[in-house]
Subunit: 159 residues, 4 copies
């Protein structure tokens, strides 16, 4: 199986806990819709970091690169409220040469609140699209590298 196939990457789900704070809610009493995108971005960032290909790592490449979102299709199913304990689930569906497709959902006590298909790619500091570096694709395939995952709140990976 090729190291960048979705078979490997897609087989594991990253789970990351998020607590709902004041800043995430709006005057309806529930979580503001764009806050779920922030939660999902945290899930993706921790997932990438656990794989050793986080933002700092990309900044240190010969040409500094940035993960960026190309498209999101998101459904808001049930509302979350203040102090709710949520879990962001992240799974890689597919990695190509220039794009990565992820499936994400946010749950509360096992109940699905939000679900999204997310397409990300990498850009240069000038905003130009770049191919996903081979080292990134390789690390993606064999995650998590324990050396890159010494400690912290980066969530957990399950089969």
């Amino acid at each position: 199986m090729s190291p960048t196939s979705e078979g490997t990457a897609g087989g594991k789900i990253h789970r990351f806990p998020v607590r709902v704070y004041y800043e995430d809610t709006d005057f309806s009493g529930f979580v503001y819709h764009a806050s779920y995108l922030r939660f999902m971005e945290r899930g993706r960032s921790e997932f990438l970091r656990i794989c050793g290909i986080g933002h700092q790592m990309l900044l240190q490449l010969r040409e500094p690169l940035f993960w960026t979102v190309r498209s999101i299709s998101i459904k808001f199913i049930r509302p979350a409220g203040i102090e709710d304990a949520l879990t962001v689930h992240t799974r890689v569906a597919e990695i190509g040469g220039a794009r990565m497709f992820l499936e994400q959902r946010i749950e509360r006590d096992g109940e699905e609140l939000t679900r999204a298909d997310v397409e990300v790619c990498v850009i240069s500091g000038a905003g130009r699209p770049r191919r996903i570096p081979e080292t990134v694709r390789e690390r993606m395939a064999i995650y998590p590298r324990s050396a890159d995952n010494p400690a912290g709140s980066q969530g957990e990976l399950d089969a």
Copy 2:
């Protein structure tokens, strides 16, 4: 043609100016992806307010109601940067009994940066879905009511 058909509603485009500030950007140097959702929500809010069915009006109904987003499908085409002058374009594609579908895009100097299909509905204070009130559907159909549009930064409606 019925007053709530998308023919009427869909015939006009609401344009709303947005300036990019510090708060909207991220460390890549460009606008953070979820900020575009905030910009689009501002465009929708001004559009609804120009039609006389803004948030304050919905709060004053016998049963207070809130606009909420059910789904968004969004493409990020080109990045925006600090101080850029953007325009949010909003058009109603369809209004049903319980849902409204809008097409939105964000432009800079006529160039499309972001494009989204947005589905919104109304909920009660307890988060329960409600039918879109008839008064709301009616005002939508005959917008803009000049009495509801005395002044301010609410953008403009064009054929």
Copy 3:
């Protein structure tokens, strides 16, 4: 010493970990200044929740109440960057009948990045100031109640 004196409350420091994400940064490459206020609010919320007087608890009083900020004096000493692991330190300096004064700071590896004096009070749903309920003052004095602290990411309290 009275159970609501600052002596008791002031003797313990609540520590809460925060990771810097994309959403927290701006185009300067560092954390956006208002994001530190969000971090501090998270620290206060977890601290109050660990004491059994979080937002949900206040909503369930006979007259629902909300914590609100009356004033902040904040110094931004050193900048934080993407993926930095920060710690929010929160200490109650004084509790009066209508106001609570907290000292907060944000550190990275023991280095102080930001420091603030924060004054909070409670308001009704209509935005009217209210006295801090006696139950809230009592729980503050004897925190943490283990029954209110079953699990989660609420940080830790040290002498």
Copy 4:
């Protein structure tokens, strides 16, 4: 009187309109406290831009610079709500070699909601403090330059 004295700079007040949107509110029903800092930052950015020393201008200096906040002391006096039309007032109190002090307040229909003393300075891309460039201090003193103020939503300057 020297062109960079606070006498000149301090004599004018910049007024900038802000509408309260969904994103700015929280579950208390009012504006989230950190949102007022975002509003004030917009006021400062438009004020600096009207003077010809906005963010883009600073990025184009030989050594690219960024405005950054060193300290804020802010009082939250009355709450704002959804759709409220606010005005951000900005006045330069003093400009030194490395720091600028501003007085800002947010009003609704002439009623003061929030008031702040803000200290800003400039940093390099590496986060190092720099002296405020002489061109910046000069433009500050003779603002607004009409050439830098062709159009847009940048508010107005009054004596």
